[in-house]
């Protein structure tokens, strides 16, 4: 009897499994379309974890000295000073590749990683004062190229004809002891020191560069327009006046306890709710933002510094940003840029130390004088 009962219960429990689970409740996915998405780090699958916990291994001072010596003999000093590029060329790639194709409109070149080093005024030839942001192209090297077939973007495009490859560029050489062995392995192909920052630029396959190729500020020309992508200054949790520029409320005339508040956030009635995207207090800054169509006023090829027009480039001073040719259709270059990049070895006449846009007043020019029109 008991056996029969047991089998019955087992069958019942088995049949429970077969039933469709009605206990599972599905929640409506809310807030999927954010107005202001948080900055997400989309970690590429091929990139291993860069840093590890620094353990205090029992390394003698002689050992550290020896490791430093080995690194310096192989790669040169990681920091030459003032963020300048070390002269040592990658031992694997001594010969940069010759550009295979001529530049045509619609081709996309690589970008560079730059460091924002400050803002100061410059004057144009008509006497107007403009503020310029200084961006230093800091020790950039090509790390890897992925062909369009190899590099499958996360979102598949319908347009198969104009598929773009991916060029990985690294900036600022660092001591390899600070990184994991796996991360250092990423730089085996290019033969350069591990970099502090990596960036990927989508390029047309014709603009591919060999790993280990250095990139300079002369990649761009004065007068060109660029897009700059950077992480804005982290301002923390801010009120509505600072975050969205609301006017606030009166300081006096009977107003109490509501001087910097936003006021009403919605109406009652049929839509008795807060509309999505309503401007309210919250975390401000620390977002990736692209500032498009910035003009280059001046380039220093010795220190690899670019003067860009305008004081409001995203990011703090001494933060790293991505810089690439603009995608704005009206500001794209009509004449050929250095394609695929500026290579000093194949250039017939090397560029000057200081390059200026046409309308910028040089500091060693004579004073600006206006000429009276004669009638």
């Amino acid at each position: 009897m008991s056996l029969i009962l047991k089998t019955l219960t087992s069958i019942q429990s088995f049949s429970n499994l077969l039933k469709p689970g009605i206990e599972v409740t599905t929640l409506a996915k809310r807030g999927a379309k954010r107005l202001n998405p948080y900055p997400k780090k989309r970690h590429p699958g091929w990139l291993p974890r860069p840093t590890h916990v620094l353990y205090k291994d029992d390394i003698t001072p002689e050992n550290t000295k020896f490791i430093k010596e080995v690194v310096e003999t192989r790669f040169g000093k990681p920091d030459v000073g003032l963020g300048m590029q070390s002269k040592s060329i990658s031992p694997l790639r001594n010969e940069p590749i010759e550009p295979q194709t001529e530049w045509k409109e619609g081709m996309r070149r690589t970008g560079v990683i730059a460091k924002k080093i400050g803002v100061y005024p410059m004057w144009l030839k008509d006497g107007t004062k403009v503020l310029s942001t200084l961006l230093q192209v800091i020790d950039n090297h090509v790390i890897r190229y992925m062909s369009p077939e190899e590099y499958a973007p996360v979102i598949q495009r319908n347009n198969i004809r104009n598929r773009l490859g991916c060029l990985i560029v690294g900036a600022e050489s660092m001591d390899p002891q600070l990184f994991t062995k796996e991360y250092c392995g990423v730089f085996n192909e290019s033969g350069v020191l591990p970099k502090r920052m990596l960036g990927r630029f989508l390029i047309s396959p014709n603009a591919a560069l060999q790993p280990g190729t250095p990139l300079y500020a002369a990649h761009f020309k004065p007068g060109d327009y660029v897009d700059i992508r950077g992480k804005t200054i982290d301002r923390g949790f801010q009120g509505v006046m600072k975050r969205w520029g609301f006017k606030g409320m009166p300081a006096s005339h009977g107003v109490t306890k509501t001087h910097r508040r936003g006021g009403n956030i919605g109406s009652g009635g049929t839509k008795a709710r807060v509309m999505p995207g309503t401007k309210m207090p919250g975390h401000m800054g620390n977002r990736w933002r692209v500032f498009r169509g910035i003009r280059i006023l001046r380039i220093n090829t010795k220190y690899n510094v670019i003067w860009a027009l305008g004081p409001h480039i995203p990011g703090e001073t001494n933060s790293l940003l991505y810089m690439y040719d603009t995608v704005l259709p009206t500001r794209k270059p009509s004449t050929a840029p250095h394609f695929p990049t500026y290579l000093p070895s194949i250039q017939e006449n090397p560029v000057e130390e200081e390059l200026w846009a046409e309308d910028v007043h040089r500091f060693d020019d004579p004073c600006i004088e206006f000429i009276e029109e004669t009638k």
Partner: protein, 310 residues
């Protein structure tokens, strides 16, 4: 082990020597009641400095590069750490020197009388000359600027000029002198005669090697209302500021006598001495050469060939 000890001893000696040197400098500075303050800090009171110190800053003879901080305060960068970058400062200094090679920017202080000629597209003759007393100097690097004040047709006029603006054609120092305060903004509330200067003023020549004269003129302010609470500013160049009891009490409450002992505040708002030395060592020789050429030009201008008589 022995070697290491020796090393440490040697380091100690070097350090102590350095420290002694720096102490000496500090002592000498302390004697002058001043530290190497940067230009952007409102605390340094050049006016409050005793006359002995003024004598030490001889004109045209800045033997010590560190003395340049009074003559060329704009070469010191903004001490805010979040804005600092050594390469940017270096490039900015190079640009400043490039501009200085094209225009003669004379030595001047707050209280000096200047004449500035600017090219102006809207002015008749396309240029404009303004004479006035320098009431404020601010900004560092290429942003350096100064305010000139004058009274024209019984109307106070102030013009802010950028020191490195290429539309400036000429800067003349008509009267080189210092006043008791490092900002003369109170002239806005003073009677007009204190800030009235004629436009056809002749430049006054001071013999070389003499210290910059300090004008200890004391101003009486006009009756209230004022633009600022002058009684709170500890002004040396204003004679007896009289306010009512309530304002006096409030001024007393707003005093911050502890701030002069706040070493961290001073540290944050100044450029360290070692960095100042580095900065001025870089530009000193060029500045000195420019100064010498300026003096030569001045001598040529002042020398008048004696006429033959008879």
């Amino acid at each position: 082990m022995h070697g290491a000890l020796k090393m440490s001893a040697a380091v100690g000696r070097v350090l102590s020597q350095q420290m002694r040197q720096s102490l000496k400098v500090l002592k000498s500075l302390a004697g002058k009641k001043n530290r190497c303050f940067s230009a952007s800090v409102p605390i340094p009171k050049e006016g409050s400095v005793s006359n002995n110190e003024q004598k030490s800053v001889n004109r045209g003879k800045s033997a010590d590069p560190l003395e340049c901080r009074f003559m060329y305060p704009e070469f010191l960068p903004d001490p805010k750490p979040e804005y600092r970058n050594s390469l940017r400062e270096k490039l900015e200094r190079a640009d400043m020197m490039a501009r200085r090679s094209k225009i003669d920017i004379p030595e001047f202080y707050v209280g000096s009388i200047l004449a500035v000629t600017v090219s102006d597209p809207h002015a008749p003759g396309k240029s404009n000359r303004f004479v006035g007393i320098c009431i404020k100097r601010s900004g560092c690097g290429l942003r350096a600027n100064f305010i000139l004040r004058n009274v024209v047709d019984n109307q106070g006029v102030e013009v802010l000029y950028e020191l490195y603006d290429p539309t400036i054609q000429k800067i003349d120092c008509l009267r080189l002198e210092k006043r008791l305060d490092n900002e003369l903004l109170y002239l806005r509330d003073a009677p007009e005669e204190y800030s009235t200067f004629s436009f056809d003023m002749e430049p006054e020549i001071i013999p070389e090697g003499t210290p910059v004269p300090v004008n200890d003129l004391k101003v009486t302010l006009k009756p209230q209302p004022w633009l600022e609470k002058w009684e709170r500013k500890d002004l040396k160049g204003v004679r007896d500021i009289v306010v009512n009891q309530k304002r006096e009490m409030k001024a007393k409450a707003a005093l911050k006598p502890w701030e002069k002992y706040d070493l961290m505040k001073i540290y944050r708002e100044t450029i360290p001495e070692e960095e100042q030395k580095e900065i001025f060592a870089e530009v000193y020789s060029d500045l000195h050469n420019l100064e010498i050429t300026r003096q030569k030009m001045k001598r040529q201008r002042t020398f008048i060939r004696p006429k033959k008589s008879g």
